[in-house]
């Protein structure tokens, strides 16, 4: 059974629905990518999983438990962490303090968790006393991922982790995403760089106007003519 199973989810921020029946699954140790045009509801679908949306229909089942309608803090404790698309670090706090805030709900000895994070992001070790707001965009994105990983989640939600990054950093973020997966975390991510993301993920979903449009393995979607016309520049 899939780790995350979203079934025909409808909902939105106010009274109007933004999602009109979105379904997707994420399996254990799987990297699943969501692509689609701007305003398609990609971020909104992710927020629905994390309890930041009023869900008016459908179900969200995580690890065998129905978490539809749960508040974010409860979802965090259940094992899902979320990296928002923007404003995803504490700019006025140091890199290390960002990680500490990520582990706010965790008690006890955290040295193993810090070792793991600095192992994933060796570049950040030298910068641990720098303010997150002073880092480059790519390093800030790593801080954001590190903060979310401090709680040792089973599922990590990443909203456009490579937005605005150079190709070099984009590759690095993808590589880290794979490393995180290899460490046993499932990943659902939204990507603007559709071609590169589909090439690197296990499976993908194409959303448009708040509903599923296509789904399949990354390779299958890349080969699909309709998908290619939609965003891959023909």
């Amino acid at each position: 059974m899939a780790l995350l199973d979203m079934k025909a989810v409808r909902g939105g921020y106010g009274d109007a629905d933004i999602l009109h029946g979105v379904s997707m699954t994420v399996g254990e140790r799987e990297i699943v990518v969501i692509v689609g045009p701007n305003g398609a509801g990609k971020s909104t679908a992710m927020k629905a999983v994390f309890g930041l949306l009023t869900v008016r229909g459908g179900h969200i089942v995580f690890d065998g438990e129905d978490i539809t309608g749960w508040a974010p803090d409860r979802i965090v404790q259940r094992g899902i962490c979320y990296v928002p698309q923007v404003d995803n670090v504490f700019r006025e706090m140091t890199v290390h303090e960002n990680f500490e805030m990520g582990a706010f709900l965790r008690r006890g000895d955290l040295s193993a968790a810090y070792d793991r994070i600095y192992g994933l992001f060796p570049d950040l070790k030298a910068k641990r006393r720098n303010l997150a707001g002073d880092l480059s965009g790519g390093q800030r994105q790593m801080v954001a991922m590190g903060r979310a990983l401090m709680l040792d989640p089973k599922l990590l939600l990443l909203d456009e982790p490579t937005a605005g990054l150079s190709p070099k950093y984009m590759e690095q973020i993808f590589q880290i995403t794979r490393d995180v997966r290899d460490a046993g975390v499932s990943i659902l991510l939204v990507e603007q760089h559709a071609k590169q993301a589909l090439a690197f993920c296990d499976r993908g979903y194409v959303l448009a106007t708040g509903a599923n449009r296509h789904e399949g393995t990354g390779q299958a979607l890349l080969a699909d003519r309709e998908v290619a016309e939609m965003f891959l520049g023909g």
Binding site: P72, D73, Y82
Partner: protein, 289 residues
């Protein structure tokens, strides 16, 4: 005027006044940074703290022993005020909370006037002669005030830098949404903030009172210089509030060199206008208002 006269009659009083402003401005900057509104009841909370300390002194405590008790009492008052008034408005536009705080200011002042009257009071009577420290003249109360301010600033800084909940307060000020996503309980941070702010109010009121006199308008009259200090230093920044407080206090005491003494109180206003014109985020780059 000799150099020592300048130090003793202008600089030292400026530093003492400035450190009292600093304690008030830290509270203002914490409310601004974490709860995101201008707290107009700040001055009158300080007045309340000063008079609670007076009641304790009347009951037999020495003034400096009354201070921590008054700080604890106003911490509780601040939490209760938040629960009764501000918390109720938290989903509304912030301007409503600002206006509510103005109402709270009037209420607190009225309570002080009903209980303690409107005449000026003092913690101790009699004239205190200053001691001579290598030519610098300092009264004990000034020395203790400076020491208390240094202790408060160091204690608060350590708390905010190193403790779990201090970091949660900074996180809430930095990025409230992300703090919530990280599992920080907004209500606990709010309560903790009010406890600290209330205690700081009481401390600033007490120090104003012991270096001068107590009267029911004392807090309201220092509200503007305290706000000026917070904004001058950069809203949301504790170090900024300390720096801003010292600058405003010293500038007020120096203003008599260029302005008639009646205009002393306008100094803070002029500084506030200047900083808003040339560097609206304050000396240490605070939040955008």
């Amino acid at each position: 005027m000799s150099f020592m006269e300048f130090i003793n009659f202008h600089l030292v009083p400026g530093i003492v006044l400035g450190s009292v402003y600093a304690v008030g401005a830290i509270g203002i900057t914490l409310v601004f940074g974490i709860l995101r509104f201008a707290h107009f009841a700040h001055g009158d909370m300080a007045t309340l703290g000063a008079f609670i300390a007076l009641a304790l002194v009347t009951a037999g405590l020495t003034p400096w022993a009354a201070l921590p008790v008054a700080m604890a009492a106003v911490a509780v008052v601040a939490i209760v005020v938040d629960k009764l008034f501000y918390d109720y408005l938290k989903a509304r536009p912030k301007i409503m909370t600002v206006m509510a705080s103005l109402g709270v200011a009037l209420m607190l002042r009225a309570v002080v006037q009903v209980v303690f009257g409107v005449d000026p009071r003092t913690y101790a009577t009699g004239i205190v002669r200053p001691d001579d420290y290598f030519g610098i003249l300092l009264r004990d109360r000034e020395l203790y005030t400076l020491a208390a301010v240094v202790l408060i600033v160091i204690g608060l800084t350590l708390f905010l830098r190193h403790s779990r909940w201090g970091k949660a307060m900074r996180a809430m000020s930095d990025n409230p949404d992300l703090a919530r996503l990280s599992g920080v309980d907004n209500r606990k941070v709010t309560m903790l903030t009010w406890a600290i702010v209330g205690a700081l109010c009481a401390a600033s009121g007490f120090m104003l009172g012991i270096n001068n006199e107590l009267h029911s308008m004392m807090g309201w009259q220092v509200l503007l210089p305290m706000f000026a200090a917070a904004i001058l230093g950069g809203v949301g920044r504790v170090e900024g509030a300390v720096l801003g407080g010292l600058i405003v206090g010293i500038a007020e005491e120096m203003s008599i060199f260029i302005l008639p003494a009646q205009y002393k109180a306008a100094t803070a206003f002029v500084l506030l206008l200047l900083i808003l014109l040339v560097r609206p985020r304050g000396l240490l780059n605070g939040k955008v208002l």
